[in-house]
Symmetry: C2
Subunit: 882 residues, 2 copies
Amino acid sequence: MNQVLYVYSFNDGNKSMKSLLGSKGANLAEMARIGLPVPPGFIVSTEACNLYLEKSEGLWPELKEEILNSLKHLEAQTGRTFGGRSPLLLSVRSGAVISMPGMMDTVLNLGLNPATVEALAAETGNRRFALDCYRRFIQMFADVVLKVGHHHFENVLTAARKQKKVKSDAELDDSDLEMIVTEYTNIVRKEKGSDFPLEPLDQLFLAVEAVFSSWNTERAQVYRQAHRIADSLGTAVNVQAMVFGNLGEDSGTGVAFTRNPSTGEAKLYGEYLLNAQGEDVVAGTRTPRPLEELKEDMPAIYDQFLHICAVLENEYREMQDIEFTIERRKLYMLQTRAGKRTAPAAVRIAVDLVHEGLITKDEALLKVDPDQLEQLLHRRIDPKAKLEAITDGLPASPGAASGQVVFDADRAQELAKAGKKVLLVRPETTPDDIHGIIAAQGILTSRGGMTSHAAVVARGMGKPCVCGCEELHIDLGKKVFFIRGEQFAEGTILSIDGSTGRVFRGEVPLIDPEFSPEYYELVGWADQVRRLKVRANADNPEDARLAVEMGAQGIGLCRTEHMFMAADRVPVVQKMILAPNLVEREAALAELLPMQQADFKGIFREMVGFPVTVRLLDPPLHEFLPDRDELLIEVYRLRCENDPDGSLREKESLLQKINAISEFNPMLGHRGCRLGLVYPEIYRMQVRAVFQALFDLIDEGQDAGKLLPEIMIPLVGHRTEIKAMKRLVDDTATAVFAERGKKIEYLVGTMIELPRACLVAGQLAEVAAFFSFGTNDLTQTTLGYSRDDSESKFLPFYLQHKILEVNPFAEFDREGVGRLVKLAVEEGRGARNNLKVGVCGEHGGDPASIMFFDRIGLDYVSCSPYRLPIARLAAARAALGG
Amino acid sequence: MNQVLYVYSFNDGNKSMKSLLGSKGANLAEMARIGLPVPPGFIVSTEACNLYLEKSEGLWPELKEEILNSLKHLEAQTGRTFGGRSPLLLSVRSGAVISMPGMMDTVLNLGLNPATVEALAAETGNRRFALDCYRRFIQMFADVVLKVGHHHFENVLTAARKQKKVKSDAELDDSDLEMIVTEYTNIVRKEKGSDFPLEPLDQLFLAVEAVFSSWNTERAQVYRQAHRIADSLGTAVNVQAMVFGNLGEDSGTGVAFTRNPSTGEAKLYGEYLLNAQGEDVVAGTRTPRPLEELKEDMPAIYDQFLHICAVLENEYREMQDIEFTIERRKLYMLQTRAGKRTAPAAVRIAVDLVHEGLITKDEALLKVDPDQLEQLLHRRIDPKAKLEAITDGLPASPGAASGQVVFDADRAQELAKAGKKVLLVRPETTPDDIHGIIAAQGILTSRGGMTSHAAVVARGMGKPCVCGCEELHIDLGKKVFFIRGEQFAEGTILSIDGSTGRVFRGEVPLIDPEFSPEYYELVGWADQVRRLKVRANADNPEDARLAVEMGAQGIGLCRTEHMFMAADRVPVVQKMILAPNLVEREAALAELLPMQQADFKGIFREMVGFPVTVRLLDPPLHEFLPDRDELLIEVYRLRCENDPDGSLREKESLLQKINAISEFNPMLGHRGCRLGLVYPEIYRMQVRAVFQALFDLIDEGQDAGKLLPEIMIPLVGHRTEIKAMKRLVDDTATAVFAERGKKIEYLVGTMIELPRACLVAGQLAEVAAFFSFGTNDLTQTTLGYSRDDSESKFLPFYLQHKILEVNPFAEFDREGVGRLVKLAVEEGRGARNNLKVGVCGEHGGDPASIMFFDRIGLDYVSCSPYRLPIARLAAARAALGG
C-alpha cells in the first residue's frame, strides 16, 4: 500500500484535525476514537479538494488509487463488497472545515444498480426496502451529482401516490417502486442525454468530484461571503458504510440537540422518524416525532442515546447537534457538531456550562459570538397586546417579524433590495432559498419540524421562524395561500412570533427587549476581562440614559447638530445660516443658545461621573436649508405666473443663497472646524451652551468634579486649525467661568477623520488632549468612497465580485485605514504621553474591528447604545486574544 | 561703551549679514567696506525688531542707549551735531532681509525743527533749501510715522502752487514754504490732536518704532503672503547721515539699473533729477531724465558712476539696482541691491553673466526663478495686426494686457474676484495699491518713469505696465478719464502693450510667444543638469506637438474623457451611458471606438519615441449628461402644460436616469476604475482604440519599437482592482494582437490618487509597472478638500487667516500628502525594483513641489505643456540642491 497522502481512515483522525478532514470527518473520527458506535468509513481530505480545484483536471490517478485502497479496507471492515453480492453501500457527504449549507452535502445508498439492488433484496429479505433505497439513491445522486432538479422526481412520486390513492411513500409497494425506478432512470436519460451511471466506482468518483465542485457554486460562495468564511479552506468528502433507518419499524433515524437551541435550556431536544432515512427528517417532508417518544418505542436505545449525548457534551464541552440512525434496534452515530443556537440560547448555554464546571468563564466569553448578541436586542411582541393568532406552528426561532408574504427567494431578495420588509412563506426551505432567508424579516413554513432546514438556518441567523404550520396551505401556482380556509394573496402583511409559533394578521405592537440573568452574568464577566472601555454615541437625554443602562462608561460622541434638526429649531437655524451679517447671525444664535443649553443639561445630568464628548457643529450648513429642487421649481412657477403673491423676490434670494452655499462634494466641503473658523460665533455659542448647562447642574447641587466635559473639534487636518479652535474654546470657557466665578475642568480634543490628521498626529497631539477616530469619515476619505453614494452604487458590485471581501463601512479596513490609525496613535502618544484615544465611528460596535482597536492600544470604543453589549463582549474576547 | 547687542555701524558689517542687518543695511556696509562713497550711518538690527514686536513695550532703555552711542559716533564721524547748530540730519529707512514694498521705507531730513532749520539755513546760506527740507520732513514723517495721510499735505502744496500760479514746487519761494510749514504743523495738530514732535531724539525713536511696527501692517502681510516670505524675519532700521540732492542745480538724485531690467540688455539704465530728493524720482511726481544726460551735465560724476556700477556688478556678480545722490558735485551711493527684472531680462542677464565669466552655468540656473519663466509664455500683440494706438507712454514692463479700466485698487480686487479682467489706471501707484496691482491684468499710469513704483512692482510680478502716459488725464472724482481730449468712462476696455508703451481701444489680437536664444541656452543647461524627466499632460495631437516643442520627454497624462467631450461625441456618449442594457451600450461604444482610435493615432504620431500614458475613463458618468436643473424645470413645465408635445415621458425617464446616476459626492463616487469594473466594456473599447491606433501607425510605416504606450488605471485603492483591470487590458491587447498577428510592448500601471493606494503601494506595485501620483485628487482626499468647493469657500479665508501658509492645490503639501507619496514610492519600489514613478497632478509644474519630488526620487514630473520650461529649470535647480 502506498503512503497516505489525501485519504484518511476514521481510525487515523480526531477532532483536532478539522482543517484537514473537515468538521464532519474529524468529529466522526473522534467519535470512533472514543468508542461510540460509528459506521466505518474514510475521508478524502480538504487538501485533495484544493488541489482538485487548482488543477481543474478531474481526479488524478494517485488519488483514485488511494480511494480504492481505502475502499478495500472498508470492505474488509464490513465484510461486504462494493458492487458485489453482499453489497457494500456508501453514504457520501461533503464536510467543510466550518459547516455550511449550500454545498453538495449528502448522497446515500451509493453503490446500487440493477444487480446490487437485487442482491440487497435477497440479503435483507426485503425487496421493498431495497427498491426504496435504489429510488432514493437515484433521486439524490441525480439531484446533487448530475444536477437534475429534484422536482422531476417529486412529480413522479406524487403521481404514483395519487394513482395509488395513498398519502405517504411508505404505502407504495414493490411494483410501484419498480415503476418509479424505471421512470427515474428515464428522467435522467432525458435530462442528461446519457444513462444513469451503473458502475459503483463511477458513482463514487463522480460523487467525490461533485462534492469538490460544490465548494465553488454560487450558493456556497454567497454563504461564505455572508459568514466571512475564507475561500481557501476547501471541503473534505466523507465516505461511510451505509446503515439503514428504513429497514422497517425497528429502524429509524433522527437528529437531536443536547440542549434547547432556541432557549438554551439544558434539556435534550430532538426528533426522529421510524422507517426513514436521514433526509426525511431534515428536509421537512414528513413531520417527525419528538425524541421523548423514543423512550416508549425503544427504551434501551433511548437510554443509550442519552448516555452518548452526555459523553459528547463532556468530550466537546459544548452543546452538540447530533444525527443518528437505528438499524434493526442498533444505534449508530452519524454526525456530531457544535449546535447552532439563538443568541439567548448561546448566552444561557455558555453560562450554564460554566456553572456545570465544564468550561471556564473565559471560555464562555469566547463561546458567544458578539455579533449574535444583537438578537438579544430584538423587540418582541407586546404581551399586553390583545392579539388573536390566525394560526400557529412550531416556535422554531424566537423573535417577532412582520412583512409582506412572498413565496420565493428571488422575489424576497428583490423586494428587500427595494426596501420592503418581507416574510418568506414556503412549504419548506432548501439551501437554494438561502438568499431569500437572508433578505426576509422572518420565515414561515407549512411543513418541517424544529430541526428542519428553515429552522436551523433561521436560528443561525437570529431570524424569527415558525415551522410546520399545518393549517397553512400554499398554492405556488396561483400565488395565494389559505389559512383555515381563508384565502390570502401574496403580498398580504402577516406577523409571526418565533418564540410561541403564533401567526397574526398585519403588523403587531412590539416592546423593548428584556435581558436574562445569564446575560447579565456573562457581560459581567466580560467587564472584568476587557481592557478597552466602552462608550456610547448619544445625542439626547433618552439615549444617554439607555447608554448607561447598556453599560456605557461615557458618551464618546454627542453630535450637536442633531439638536439643530428638531422641527421647532430648524427655522431659527435657517435664520442663523441665512443671516446677511454677523449681527443678525448672532441674534439667531442667541435664540439657539438656551435650547442647546437645555439639551446639554439633560445629557450631562444622565452622565454624572462619566465623560461626555461633545462634538461641535460638523455638517455643511446647507443640510439645514430647504430642499433646493422644490425651491427651483417654485421660483420657476412664480416667474411663469408673474409672481402672484409677491413672494418671488424672497424665494429667488433664498435660492441664490442656497446655491451659494451648495457644494459639489459637501463631504469634502465647508464643514467641521472649517465652519468653526469662518463662523466662530457658532462654535462660541455651542461651547457657551455646554458650560452654562454645567453651571445649571452645579446650581442644582451636582458635584462639579463629577461633570466631565470633553469638547471635540471635528475635521481637523492642520495644527493651525486645532490651535485656533482650542483658543476659541478656552476663551469662551474663561468668559463663562468669569461670569460664574468658578471653574470646571474640561478637555479639548479633536476628531480624526482625515488622512492628513493621522499623518500629522504628533503635531495635533501637542494641542489636543484626546483623539477620537471618526472611522466612518476616515474610511470615506482614505478609500475615496462617499458612503451615501457607494453603498447604493458600486459597493454591492464590489462585494458580489470579491473586489472587496467585506464592506469597509461595516468592518474596519485594517490594511489601509488601520495603518493610518495605528500611526496616528503611535505618533500622538509620542507627542503626549497621556493622550486619550478612542473610536466613535460605527466600527466601534463591530467585533472584528474592536479586536483591531484593542490590539493597537486604543483607550475606548464608542458605539450606538444598542451595540454596547456586543462591544463589551467583543472587547473581552479581544483581551482574551480571540 | 557697552557691548554692541542690537546696533551696528556700517563699518561693522558686510553683504553676508543680511539676516541680521537687513538687505539694505548689509549692502550699505559692503559698499563702505569696499571703499565706495557712502554717507556714514548705523543699523538697528532685525533682532531688535523681533524683540520689539515680541515685547510690545516700546523701545527698551538698553536699546535706546545703544542708539544714542551710535549717534554720538556718527556725530564724531560727520563733525555735526544732532539737533545742534551745525545740525546733523538723518535719513531713516526700513531694511528687511528680503526687500519688500508695503513697509515704512523712508523718512528723510530727520532732526529738523524750528531751531535746526534756521541753523541749516545759516550754514548752507540757502534758506529756501532748508525750508524745503523741513517741509519734506514734516510731510514724510507725518505720513509714515504719524499716519497722517499725505493727501492733506498735497492739497496744501497744490493750493500754494495755484495761488502762486506756478507749475512746480521748485518755483515756490521762502515765504511760500514758511506758510506751508505752518499749515503742515496745523494739519498734524488737527489730525493727531497733538503737536508735531520737535525734539530730534523723539523724532528718531518714533521713526525707529514706526519702522518696526510697519513689519506687521496688513499691506506688508499681504505682500509677504504673495511672495512667501516668512513672518519671522523682521526688519532692520538704517540710520544714515543725510546728503542733499536738493541743494541746487549742482545737486541731484537718481536711480539706475546696471542692465536693462526689461530686456536684460547689458546697458546702464537709469534716471535722475537735479535739485531733488530721492522720493521725487521714485514716487513718479516729476518725470525724470534719462541717465545718459548726466554725461552732459556732470561728465566726471557720470564716469565715476559708471565705474562704481562695474565695481558693484563684479562684487555682487549680479545686475544691481542703485540709488545715488549728488550733493554739490559729490557723488554718494545710497543703496545697491539685486535689481528686479522681467523674465526675459532674468534669462538674458543670467546667460550673459556666464558668457562674461562672472558666474558658472549652475549659478545661472539658480539665478532665474522658475516661476518667473511663465512670463516668457505670455502672449503678445500680433505685430501684423493693423492697430492704431490712442496714446502711448513708457514701456515699463513688457507683455500685453486688456481689461476694463478701474481707478482704485479695492475696486480692481473686487472685480477680479468676480472673474473680470481689469486694467488698473492711476495717476501714479503707491504701496497702498499693491492688492490692486496683484488683481489687475496690467497697469497704466499717467505720471512716473521707468523706475516708478508701478514700473518696478509690475516688472517684479511680470505684469504688463505702461507708465508716464502724459496724454492721459484722470478725474478720480468724476470717475472718467481723458485721452487727447476724448472722454472715457471707468469700465471702458483698453489694451496696453508694455513692450512698446502703446495704448489701444478695446481688446487686441494676441499671438504665441517666441523664445530668445538665451532661453534655449539656459534650458539646455538645465537639461544637462537635471535628474528628473519632464513629461506633459496632453489630450490631443495639438497639445502633444506643443509638448514636444516645449521639451517634453513623453506624455504623463492623456485624459481620455476629454475625447468624449467634443460636441459631436456627447450624444453618442450619452447614448452609451443611458443604454438600458449591455447590447445597446456596446452598440454606442462601437460608435465611439473609431473616434477615440483616431484621437490616439494623432497623439501617438506626435510622440514617436516617447512614452504616452493613457488614462482610461475617470470622471463620474453624469458629467456627460444634460444639466439636471434645466431638465427638472422642463419636466415640471411639461406636466403643468399637460405634455403639449408628447415628450414628457421621455424627459421624465431621462431625469430619472440622471437622478439614479447623480451622486452626493461625485469626487468620492462611481468613477475611475470603479466604472471600469462595473462597465468593463467601456475600458475594453478604450484599450482596443489605443492598440488599433498603434497598428494603424505601424501600417503607415512607424517602427513598432518606438511606440511606447502606458495604460493607466485611475482611482485604484485595492490590489483586487488593479489585478482585475490589468487582466482586462491584457486580454484586450491579446485579442487585438491575435487579430493583427503581431505584438506591441506596453505597460499597465496605476494612478495613485487615494490615501489607501499609498498605504498598500507594495501590493499594487506587484501588479502595476508604474505609479503616477495624481496629486490633485490625492490632495483632495488626504486633506478632505473638495477643490471645486474649497477654492471658492473656505480656502481664501484659510489663506488670509494663515490657517494655511499656501494653497495646497498650488504648492504640494509635503508634510501630509508628501508623507504618503514618500511612503508609496519606498514601498512600491520595495516590491518592484524598476517601478516607474511620476507625478501628473498640477504640482508637476510647481517649482517648490518639484524640489520635493526630486528629493524623494521620482522618475518624472508631468505638467501642462506651457509649464514645461518651468519644470525643466526647476528640476535642474532641484538637482543643484537649491
